[in-house]
């Protein structure tokens, strides 16, 4: 299945309007200024979702990113159709986002240290994890292991991709196994949770960072809040499943405002480096 479509890179979340209203405080924000403020509301600091390319630019040393496995695209193992066939949905998302699937992986440097990076893209089918996301994350972990680099994964996902059925579920095991080998070799895995990180992604690699950072206000949970609310037949408490809630509950190391994320990651990458003489398989 060869893809022929105009890949549009570098799209922002606010392409066509001059103003955007903050969903949190209601403030009308001038898009240019919003982008300059890293897509954070200048009034209430609401963190808007960020595209994967913008995220990469935000984190790594400038012009240091080299993409890996950029051409992988999804198959359709089940011949899945709901109101639309799965392949058609994929192409639709590809056209909309200019990306081939829901994660971008590659090498870069961060504060001068070589790293491997995977950034999920919620705009692509809700950041869902199917075979391509699973394969690319796994390859990134395996590459980081063989190249002895720390790995940073920035998650933004609604969970496993239903259109690939149980095969999508198996991506949880596949990615976790690869990341576990990385960790057992003494290489750092930094997990960054952004809005939203839920379902199968939270129930696999996203929860296994040696250090876990989250963006302010990010929705983070295993079950959708709707499901949870229906389960108990009650409204959920304010802030339930938000980053700050998870911090208090002990599942997140830090909630980091976007403007500080690069420096924070750079610090941990620099600090958590096993002396080369001791790099090894298994502790």
């Amino acid at each position: 299945m060869r893809l022929r479509m105009p890949f549009r890179r570098g799209k922002t979340e606010f392409p066509s309007h001059l103003w955007t209203q903050c969903p949190n405080c209601g403030e009308m924000l001038f898009n240019k200024q919003l982008v300059r403020n890293l897509s954070v509301c200048t009034k209430c600091e609401h963190h808007f979702k960020l595209g994967a390319r913008e995220r990469i630019a935000l984190i790594v040393d400038s012009d240091s990113f080299t993409e890996r496995d950029a051409t992988l695209v999804s198959g359709d193992p089940l011949g899945f159709t709901d109101s639309k066939a799965y392949p058609a949905r994929i192409i639709e998302s590809q056209t909309k986002t200019g990306e081939r699937d829901a994660v971008i992986t590659g090498d870069a440097s961060l504060g001068g240290v070589p790293i491997t990076l995977a950034v999920m893209n919620f705009a692509f089918m809700g950041g869902s994890m199917g075979g391509v996301v699973g394969e690319k994350i796994t390859r990134a972990a395996e590459h980081a292991l063989s190249a002895r680099r720390p790995l940073i994964i920035v998650s933004a996902s609604g969970g496993a991709r239903m259109q690939e059925g149980t095969i999508a579920l198996m991506q949880l095991a596949k990615t976790v196994a690869a990341l576990t080998r990385l960790g057992d070799a003494g290489l750092l895995f930094l997990s960054v949770l952004t809005d939203p990180t839920t379902g199968g992604v939270l129930a696999s690699f996203a929860s296994l960072g040696d250090i876990i950072l989250a963006e302010p206000g990010a929705l983070i949970g295993f079950s959708g809040a709707r499901v949870t609310s229906e389960t108990i037949g009650e409204k959920l408490p304010m802030g339930f499943q938000r980053a700050e809630f998870l911090l208090e509950r002990g599942f997140v190391d830090q909630v980091v405002p976007r403007a500080q994320l690069r420096d924070r990651l750079a610090f941990f990458v620099a600090a958590c480096r096993l002396p080369v003489a001791e790099l090894r398989w298994g502790l």
């Binding site: 299945m1 060869r2 893809l3 496995d69 051409t71 992988l72 695209v73 999804s74 198959g75 193992p77 089940l78 899945f80 159709t81 709901d82 109101s83 199917g130 075979g131 391509v132 699973g134 394969e135 796994t138 496993a160 991709r161 239903m162 259109q163 690939e164 059925g165 149980t166 095969i167 579920l169 198996m170 991506q171 949880l172 095991a173 596949k174 976790v176 196994a177 576990t180 080998r181 057992d184 199968g200 939270l202 129930a203 696999s204 690699f205 996203a206 929860s207 296994l208 949970g221 295993f222 079950s223 499901v227 949870t228 389960t231 108990i232 408490p237 499943q241 509950r249 002990g250 599942f251």
Partner: protein, 308 residues
């Protein structure tokens, strides 16, 4: 049980199953049938001298997960199982087989016990999914499942996972990272319940039947897809029609798999387990110049090697 079988009566050839299948929705209903034998009953008939072990050493003993040590034909094994109820009362006690995080943390403790003494680990999967309530979220449902998957993926002892009824989502996979993954013939294993899938993709939970068709969660389909390595034959009318025959069939399968895995050196076991899950997923890479090939089902390689 007339199908082509390997050791232990496990069906490994999907072709042998073609005429035996109902619709995916039939499979879902059958897998959920309350009359099916559940874990505690199966444990009682398959293993000798089972001793249940309790607790996660941190918060609570979760009754939705039943763990312990038992003997399988004289060989001590660790058993970790999800327990649905056979009655409404029992279902309430067992939370309908839906664990809280502490259930997975109890499981992890048992995995480590199995590892320490090189006891084969047998898991029985039967859950609609991890419990989605707010308390489960507060105590880290996602983290607990992730950690359970992680510990299994590098556990230094043989693991046999069996979906005996409903294998629901991450809550099932948390017990499912096996060297061998089996399903009872009428079990299902899916990424989300058909109802959940229907609510999201078909905009109506009533469309669960269509969602089941699309997701293909039934055992024969998953065998064909290489997700599971073999099917444990059920009595002709389904497991619920004859619990004794069902237990015997499961026991035969488990004995054969334990014997087989016992012969595999630990390092090979671990690398094969990694490869097994590593191979899952379908994608194409035009940039790599060729269609990526589905790798040969792992169990064929494993079976060949273990038979040497």
């Amino acid at each position: 049980m007339q199908a082509v079988t390997s050791d232990g009566g496990v069906i490994i050839d999907p072709a042998a199953l073609s005429e035996r299948r109902g619709s995916p929705w039939d499979a879902v209903r059958l897998a959920r049938d309350q009359r099916r034998p559940h874990s505690i009953e199966l444990i009682g008939s398959v293993f000798d001298r089972f001793q249940e072990l309790h607790g996660d050493r941190g918060y609570r003993d979760d009754p939705a997960v039943v763990c312990g040590i038992g003997e399988l034909e004289g060989r001590a094994v660790v058993i970790v199982a999800q327990q649905k109820g056979a009655s409404t009362d029992e279902n309430i006690e067992r939370n309908f087989g839906m664990s809280y995080p502490e259930g997975y943390r109890k499981a992890i403790r048992m995995y480590r016990l199995a590892e320490r003494f090189r006891l084969p680990l047998i898991t029985l999967i039967d859950t609609p999914g991890a419990y989605p309530g707010p308390e489960a979220e507060e105590r880290g449902q996602g983290e607990a499942i992730a950690k359970s998957i992680q510990v299994m993926s590098v556990l230094r002892t043989p693991i046999i996972a069996v979906v005996i009824g409903e294998g629901g989502s991450g809550g099932a996979l948390a017990l499912g990272v096996g060297d061998v993954v089996l399903m009872l013939e009428n079990a299902v294993y899916s990424v989300i319940t058909p109802e959940g899938c229907a609510a999201i993709l078909f905009r109506s939970a009533a469309e669960a039947e269509r969602a089941a068709m699309a997701m293909r969660p039934s055992a024969p389909d998953l065998l064909a897809l290489g997700i599971v390595d073999g099917l444990v034959p059920e009595p002709a009318g389904g497991a619920h029609t004859d619990h004794i025959v069902m237990s015997a069939s499961l026991k035969r399968a488990l004995v054969a798999q334990v014997e087989r895995l016992d012969r595999v050196p630990l390092a090979d076991l671990l690398s094969a387990r990694y490869d097994r899950f590593r191979a899952m997923g379908v994608w194409v890479d035009p940039g790599a110049g060729a269609l990526a090939e589905r790798s040969r089902p792992w169990w064929r390689r494993m079976l060949n090697r273990a038979r040497l």
